[in-house]
Amino acid sequence: MYEDMVTARHYEERLQEEYLEGKQPAFDISAGPIPGELHLAAGHEAAGAGVCQHLRDDDTVTAPHRPHHVAIAKGVDLKRMTAEIFGRETGLSKGKGGHMHLFDPDVNFACSGIIAEGCPPAVGAGLAAKKRNTDSVAVAYIGEGAIDQGAFLESLNLAAVRDLPVVFVVEDNDWAISMPKERVTDVEDGAQRAGGFDLPGQRVDVDDAVSIYDAAKEAVGRARDNNGPTLLEVQVHRRMGHFMGDPETYRPDEDKAAAEQRDSIERLAEDLRAHGVDDDHLDEIRDRAEDRVEEAIEWAKDQPEPDPDDAYEDVFVNPPSGVTDNEPSAEVTGGDD
């Protein structure tokens, strides 16, 4: 768990460096080696590691637009994920998906960049497990900003009425971009949403990996034992802006400072020390994580970019012949912008 967390933190620090390259001095979101939006999850690591510790490769996870820490904890191929973020041919999605759309079927991991829209597919994975009498479970991650969205509420109800093996994990980082939680919902505890659908709901109020681990053990166990879904809300914190380039002018300085005080990685390190793990061992874990990250980034940067014409592939698994002309028309060749 500690290793997953320090890997995620270091990974994102390095991504941030790479992302900003070519975006200085003037920040241009479309420039540099990693273009597009980048939503970093520094401060969320405990939610990824604490829940995914209980999961196997055959368990499904759907993550939202801030997916890296969950992907790492779920065991997504780090090299291919990195290549995807750099938009390379050997990335998880051959460069078609990008950082919000990471798919690794080997470990049943998927993302969606649309708020709460990962919930229904997780319910579907739970439904498939139930129909096939396996003991696989599904976990849908969303942010606290998503608990007001229809897709989430409808999914809670369907999972409950069908007793499906699904755990809904709400990562509460206090902010939906610029909107604080109290401005968009009247409940302090998002797990209260469970009551209306008659399923168990629990909130972990502290940024603490061990507490999240314990709560997730119970929720995942319930799903695995065919005892239905659980809604779990866990407190995390947002150490950065919503996306790289977010000026965060809406955010009080003290809020950001307070978030940085709540470092779940440091808290877990203290716990481990209290349980007799020495610093050398922690350093060793950290070094190993950092090496792995460096290796993944170096590898990814060495990978070839996709061919422009690759854009025309993969719309269908079974492309219709002669129905839709998906070839670039003869007179129109590559873009130049």
Binding site: D28, G36, E84, I115, G145, P308, A311, T333, G335
Partner: protein
């Protein structure tokens, strides 16, 4: 046509970004009418992710510039309900790509209630949304979906390409008694972190003025080939036209400005003059804007047509990686090539 109506209003030394011009129109309407208000995600303290409401909170406060939960069905539907009560809400869908999470309220309620009530109910609201790619935001954050909204009856669809047009069209949108979908291209807004091309920042009069819907604007006059386009691609077409002029091809660039209603008269007049039509947009190629313009031009004046070309996004979701995105989103070179082809036919 529209140019004559607007006349000297364009002559102004004060130039604004497109987002400032939009905001200026909204602020003016809000001052004039207490029943105009704005709802959306991150529109208050943030000022709109794409600067669509920058500065409005300071003047109007949280009651009229309303941050709403991430619940598009609820707040877009609430705009419909408030509009039916006679208010004039503006609801923002942060990215047009998110339309799916609130579409029923948009096309089954907002767009149809007037018709289903036999004209007894009006829905005077504006739905704003950011559209477009070119910055590698991948398949769920880069679409324009122009054709989707224009295809479904009951919505007026506005796509400005300059600050001047954006302000006049916004005034008209808020004052219109029907639902208006106002699609602004992120690349044109003049956002600090997403540089705009030269072109959208134009002179904008301080006073209010309206640009009537259904009045296309000839952004560049030419004799040889008609290029019909909208949004970001107006500027790409202009750039292509300038470079083609060096090769002796004189292209006319028609900016549609609104898709519903559609000013076919201006298109027809241009094609009657040039005989050659190139339609360019940033939407999917099939069953969309480009096909519609070609079909209507053919229906109404087949005899004038000597050559037709379409430049659009092929029928694939927008890919993430730069080489592939550049491949599918029409560039200046693609437009130039199509104009040359049309010219040679």
């Amino acid at each position: 046509m529209a140019q004559q109506e607007e006349g000297a209003a364009r002559q102004t030394d004060r130039s604004l970004t497109m987002s400032r011009a939009m905001v200026e129109a909204i602020a003016h309407e809000m001052r004039e009418n207490d029943e105009v208000f704005y709802m959306g995600e991150d529109v208050a303290d943030y000022g709109g992710i794409f600067d669509s409401t920058e500065g409005l909170l300071d003047e109007f406060g949280h009651d009229r510039i309303m941050d709403v939960p991430i619940s598009e069905t609820a707040y877009i539907g609430a705009a419909v309900g408030a509009a039916q009560q006679g208010m004039r809400p503006i609801a923002e869908l942060m990215f047009v790509d998110f339309f799916g999470v609130g579409m029923d309220q948009i096309y089954n309620q907002m767009a149809k209630n007037t018709y289903m009530s036999g004209g007894n109910v009006s829905v005077p609201m504006v739905l704003t949304a950011a559209v477009g790619g070119t910055y590698n935001d991948a398949a769920q954050h880069s679409q324009t979906l122009y054709g989707t909204f224009a295809h479904l009856p009951g919505m007026k669809v506005v796509v400005p390409s300059t600050a001047y047009d954006a302000k006049g069209l916004m005034h008209n949108a808020i004052r219109d008694d029907d639902p208006v979908v106002y699609l602004f291209h992120k690349r044109l807004m003049g956002i600090g972190w997403l540089p705009a091309p030269d072109g959208p920042k134009t002179g904008v009069p301080e006073d209010d003025y309206t640009i009537p819907f259904g009045s296309a604007d000839v952004k560049r006059e030419g004799e040889d080939v008609t290029v019909v386009t909208l949004g970001l691609h107006v500027h790409r077409a202009m750039e292509a036209a300038e470079s083609l002029a060096d090769d002796g091809i004189d292209a006319e660039v028609v900016d549609l400005r609104t898709l519903v209603p559609l000013d076919m008269e201006t298109v027809r007049e241009s094609v009657a003059k040039t005989g050659r039509l190139v339609v360019v947009d940033e939407d999917y190629r099939s069953f969309g804007v480009t096909g519609e313009i070609v079909a209507r031009t053919a229906e109404e004046g087949l005899g004038d047509l000597e050559a037709v070309e379409r430049v659009a996004v092929p029928d694939v979701p927008i890919p993430y990686a730069r080489p592939m995105e550049d491949e599918v989103i029409p560039g200046v070179e693609d437009i130039s090539q199509a104009v040359q082809n049309a010219h040679q036919e």
